[in-house]
Symmetry: C2
Subunit: 247 residues, 2 copies
Amino acid sequence: MEKRGIGLNGDLMSTQVASALMRELKTGIYADAEKLPAEMELAGQYGVSRTVIRDALSDLENAGFIERVRGVGTVVNRRIVALDNRLDLKLEYSDMIWSMGSRPVVDSIVLREESASETAADRLGIPPGGRLIACRKRVLANRKPVIYSVDYIPQSIFDGIDYMALDWYQPIFDLLSKYCGLNVTNSITHVSATNGDSFIRSMLTPGEGAALLLLEEVSFCKLNRPVLYSLSYYTSFFDFTLLRKKF
Amino acid sequence: MEKRGIGLNGDLMSTQVASALMRELKTGIYADAEKLPAEMELAGQYGVSRTVIRDALSDLENAGFIERVRGVGTVVNRRIVALDNRLDLKLEYSDMIWSMGSRPVVDSIVLREESASETAADRLGIPPGGRLIACRKRVLANRKPVIYSVDYIPQSIFDGIDYMALDWYQPIFDLLSKYCGLNVTNSITHVSATNGDSFIRSMLTPGEGAALLLLEEVSFCKLNRPVLYSLSYYTSFFDFTLLRKKF
DNA sequence: AAGTGGTCTAGACCACTTC
DNA sequence: AAGTGGTCTAGACCACTTG
């Protein structure tokens, strides 16, 4: 009898199949395909049941990469497969900068301990005035400033950790993962347009009359635990793309 | 033997269960619940197999409303259930305005036939210079201008239809659905911040120094067929929220 | 009629958390 | 040990599109 549930590298079968299919769709044997093979055929090829294939295809469909049509087959959405920086699927700015061919560089970090504002306390689910760590920083791409951000983290998250000694130049999600064992899974993000104040504009030096995109964001770990409240100002360097789908 | 696959009102069983659960989560018996009952128990209550329940829960989880944890149960994400205007789940501005307690009113419509720009042709997958219908309009909420938009639709979509006679005051998606039988299922949206030009600002009269949010969008029907290319400028009246999730 | 994806059933075992 | 969700199997029928 085959081992069930878990494949060789620890991932689930359906996850492995989904990754494999995605690879083939982007650069492999389905790179020019308009349709994928029938579900039963894929099941045979990968040596799994149709259920596994359908779970994998469900994931791809939810992300918009394919569309399944009865009587027709599994149709590839080429335009969506080709998209690179999906705001709705990525949480990390550094990935975005890398995939745009630049190297993200962080400068002028200011780390402080502060009392939570009413807003911050509400978003993070802590008492007003609770202790926060505030990390203000600027990110450059190709030597040009592209992001200015303020990240607030409850001090309680760093219980027993000398957070001042940590390397705050790395992406904040990496830091939370490495030193606190907290993996951010999703964020609620408010998007708006602004011109910023004179300080923000002096940090980002956008062109005359250029507006900034502001993302106000609460990030969560497993079980909906809020761990990060952040305000990020983005210059027009970024091309934010997202897929909107009816529920 | 029970009828399979389709329930009383034409919806799928899993879709019906998902809707029912969503209703209970928002205002029903699970309005204050931290967890949903076990899958087997739900299966019993709704008189369906565990598979149906799991399909329904999968949909809710994909939209972020619940989280399923092994050994624990199905946990409700209250903050996400409480969100109202999800940019990633809604395609229609009028819904958003209604749910903010205002009535959307469209004024100053300008309908023209134009040749496709290179950009528009590319986005809509038609030859450059192809015939387009351009609909420019302004939307008011509570008598204040809140959106200015330009919608481009390939003329071929209206083959044999006297499009000039249609009611362009209704949402464009309703129009496409009613008269062309085309239901928009998703959109690729580019988000950016801008200050607009003097014309846009005269239409929207944002406050001094207030920036505008620009959504540049291609909307698709079944089989990834592009039917609408639009540019929409939004004032700060709108609170755009979206859920970002790791793929 | 044949082939596709969509759904459903019944049953099984696995991984995890809690008691 | 008991209960949860996660995965998988094998098989069935349904709805739809295409030839």
